[in-house]
Symmetry: C2
Subunit: 158 residues, 2 copies
Amino acid sequence: MADAPVNRTADPADLLAVAVAEARAGLAEGGVPIGAALFGPDGRLWGSGRNRRVQDDDASTHAETAAFRAAGRRAGYRGTTMVTTLSPCWYCSGLVRQFGISRVVIGEARTFSGGHDWLAEHGVEIVLVDDAECAELMTAFVAARPELWFEDIGQEPR
Amino acid sequence: MADAPVNRTADPADLLAVAVAEARAGLAEGGVPIGAALFGPDGRLWGSGRNRRVQDDDASTHAETAAFRAAGRRAGYRGTTMVTTLSPCWYCSGLVRQFGISRVVIGEARTFSGGHDWLAEHGVEIVLVDDAECAELMTAFVAARPELWFEDIGQEPR
C-alpha cells in the first residue's frame, strides 16, 4: 500500500456515476442529495454512501464520511480516490487530508465550494468534473429545501 | 442562537471530565481511548461520545464526530464548546470549522497535535488544558496498541 499509485484506468465520469446513484437514492428518501464513493488503489470500489442527515437524523454522516465508513477499517489510503457529487466541505476535506486519500473527483463546485483548493495545496490530486447533472441536482435541492441545505453545512439560512 | 456567546461559567476541567469518562469507557471496551462532548451556548451538555473504530468496526467515528452526532440535528453551533481528550485531527478540526463551533477545550496535545492551531487562525477559541490524566491515557495506549493508533489517524506504523 505504501507506494500504491492512483489507478487512472477508469474514466472519472464512470466513477462519478456511482456517487450520483447514491445522491439520487438520497433524494428519493427525502434526504440531502449528495453521494460519494471511495475507490482503492486497484480501482475497485471500497464503499459508497450518501448524506444521512434526514434518513437517520444524523448530522455527522455526510456523503464522504458514509463512503469512508462503508469502506471498512483500512491500514492506509494511499492511492485511493474519493468521488463526491459536490465539493467536499471542511469536515469532509479534513477527512481526506487526515487519512491521506490521494485523489478527489468532484462532480461540481458551482453550488458550494468547500476545501478542495486547500487539499490541492496539501498534495491531494483534485479532478473537478463540473458535471451538469450534479449541479442540477443541488441547484434544485437548495431551491426546494434551503433550510435543510443550510442546516447541513452549519450556516444560517440566507 | 445567532449571537449566542460561549458560556464560560463552567471550569474547563469539569467539562473535560465528561470527555475523560467517555475515553475511559472506550478503553474498557478495547477501543481507542479518546472521548469528547459538545456543550450548548447555555453550558448544557448536548451530547457526548467516544471513538468507535474497534467497537463498531467504524473508521468514521472519532470521539468528536460521535459527540456531534449524539447532539442531534441543530440549526447552528454558535456559542457551543467541543471538549475532547486529545487535540482534534484534521477530520475533527474540519468538523469544528465547517459547523462554526465556537470553542474547543483540549485535554492534551502532547501525544498528537492535529488542527487546533489552524482552527485558532480561523477564529475558534482554543483552550489547551494539558491534562496529565489525558496524556497518560494516550501514552499508555499508543505504547500498548501502536498499530491501532496509527490506523486511527491513517498513518503507517512507525
